[in-house]
């Protein structure tokens, strides 16, 4: 059993190991037969070359901005709307709930052309606002917070009201401190979603300086048949593009599993 498990881990890890190995080799080593499966000594020079060739600093910076703004934005607006839905009675409450639910059925591809048009009309093409705001509505995050608020004992709100705390004070000083586990869990999942989004940033960015790393990586791959692809640099670029989200998973594993499993319910 143990051996089979180790084998599974090895199979799952192999593509990354191989990409890492290639990213440390010279081009001559990359194309030699039989393939070399051990790292070589060109790590630093390859990563530096890939960094400059694809303007990796800008790409990584843009990806970080996009992923963080999407995650924080989704969490914030979802917390506020879930709070309103659970702790207030107001006309249209049910309608708001259903509107948020329906967004689940409208992924980017089914509204792509008109959304592009709207972002254009707002003057948001090629801006961080255009990259992030249209992706910020989140049914899953709203449901998660709604579910969580329902489990918070009524006594807490009663006590807060007794102390004379208004709704905003209650949200800020009572609910927020209780919500950190949920926030951390959602953050990991949404950060990865934002970092890895491809379709949307490809459409609405048209200059290299606004590209995110997932789409910018493609610039390392020559599409004309005449140029020899520098596979070692491509793999170095791929390693740099996948390191941040993978690091987030590894270091926040507990939250990641919680966020994944609970936000899908």
């Amino acid at each position: 059993m143990h051996a089979l498990l180790i084998l599974s881990v090895a199979i799952i890890a192999f593509p990354i190991y191989f990409a890492f190995v290639v990213s440390t080799q010279s081009l001559a080593e990359v194309v030699q037969k039989p393939p070399r499966l051990l790292p070589s000594g060109h790590l630093v020079e390859n990563y530096v070359a890939a960094w400059h060739k694809s303007k990796m600093g800008t790409l990584l910076f843009n990806s970080a901005i996009v992923a963080i703004v999407i995650a924080v934005g989704k969490i914030s607006i979802s917390m506020l709307s879930a709070f309103a839905i659970v702790y207030f009675r107001f006309r249209g409450r049910q309608l708001v709930f259903w509107m948020i639910f329906v967004t689940l059925m409208l992924p980017v591809p089914v509204r792509i052309l008109p959304t592009y048009e709207v972002v254009g009309d707002l003057g948001w093409l090629n801006t961080y606002a255009g990259l992030t705001v249209p992706l910020m509505a989140s049914a899953t995050a709203t449901f998660l917070f709604r579910q969580f608020y329902m489990t918070v004992p009524d006594e807490l709100a009663e006590a807060a009201q007794m102390d004379g705390a208004g709704p905003i004070r209650f949200l800020w000083s009572f609910l927020l401190p209780l919500s950190w586990a949920n926030i951390a869990a959602l953050f990991v999942v949404l950060f990865i979603y934002g970092w890895n989004e491809y379709f949307w940033p490809l459409l609405i960015t048209n200059t290299e300086s606004m590209r995110t790393v997932v789409i910018g990586l493609e610039s390392l791959i020559p599409r004309s048949g005449t140029e020899q692809p520098t596979w070692n640099l491509i793999m170095a670029g791929a390693m740099m593009a996948l390191l941040p989200p993978v690091a987030v998973i590894v270091f926040m594993q507990r939250w990641f599993v919680k966020g994944l499993v609970e936000s899908e319910k």
């Binding site: 593509p15 052309l113 249209p134 709100a157």
Partner: protein, 293 residues
């Protein structure tokens, strides 16, 4: 239902405003516009829209290219789902043993989920590379067949399916592990005492007891493969060779943003909407029943 609620006439509206604003401006309005555009033939570069009824749909449904993209989508989504769900269940079962350092194993199994399918595609592209790839090289000792994804449709399809399933298997492992922990150890022990081996226990106990999770994951993986796989196709095969890996989402983009055939692209959006609505309904029907085993 909360007994304690706050009373305020306008505050709840203010609180839902950001979410509702984003929902209307970037979800409902564009979706409605997709429906509208799908009934018109619009000239690119600012011409007038001409109402054409269902002509865009008629054109699509009689177009062999569109038919191909539908078939490709189902092959792709079916392949990704089958591969990542089956692999996910097997690996999760292996990891669900009472062994030390489970946490380390779990991390080692989950992390590919952080890799974008497009980036995974680029790595697999090199592994599959006809001239330098490690896979064709080792296969060349076994068979003379040339595994060239630039020429062979099925090799290209296998490449994109493999890369996508690889990034998604961790997701399924996480769900299966959560589900497997809900199966009482006493059931497994009883089966062991009765002489059932590991394989028998897996097929006769684990698979039936975990089936609600499996059905749920099948639907979620289908949705993922249908709607979030533009990147891997765009970055790796560009729909080729020929149009053999051109899935519906890729064709929609190509017809709309490259071909500037807005009416047809909108009609494709509407048909995709029908698919996602069906799958989401199914997902929630299953989610309701999920806990009942």
């Amino acid at each position: 239902m909360k007994r304690t609620v706050f009373r305020n006439r306008w505050l709840p509206y203010l609180l839902v405003l950001p979410q509702v604003a984003v929902t209307i401006v970037f979800f409902f309005w564009p979706a409605a516009k997709s429906l509208y555009l799908s009934l018109y033939r619009s000239a690119p570069f600012g011409g007038r829209d001409v109402f054409v009824g269902l002509a865009n749909f008629h054109a699509l449904l009689t177009d062999p290219d569109y038919y191909d993209s539908v078939v490709n989508s189902f092959i792709f989504a079916g392949g990704v789902t089958a591969l990542s769900v089956v692999a996910g269940l097997v690996v999760a079962t292996l990891a669900n043993q009472k062994i030390r350092a489970l946490g380390v194993y779990r991390t080692a199994l989950l992390w590919p989920y952080g890799i974008a399918p497009a980036v995974a595609g680029i790595i697999f592209l090199f592994i599959f590379h006809p001239a330098y790839g490690i896979l064709p090289y080792y296969l060349s000792f076994v068979t003379a067949y040339e595994f060239n994804w630039l020429l062979e449709s099925w090799v290209a399809m296998t490449l994109v399916i493999g890369a996508t399933a690889w990034t998604h298997v961790g997701y399924n492992i996480a769900f299966f592990l959560a589900g497997l922990q809900g199966i009482p150890a006493s059931v497994m022990e009883a089966a062991s005492v009765d002489g059932a081996g590991p394989v028998r226990r897996f097929t006769s106990i684990t698979v039936p007891l975990i089936s609600p999770v499996t059905f749920y994951l099948v639907v979620v993986n289908m949705v993922f493969a249908f709607f979030s796989s533009f990147g891997v196709i765009h970055a790796v095969t560009q729909g080729g060779p020929g149009r053999s890996t051109e899935i519906m989402v890729f064709k929609l983009w190509k017809d709309g943003f490259i071909g500037l055939n807005l009416g047809s692209s909108a009609a494709q959006s509407v048909l995709l909407m029908a698919i996602v609505i069906g799958l989401t309904m199914l997902q929630f029907r299953i989610a309701e029943k999920k806990v009942t085993y």
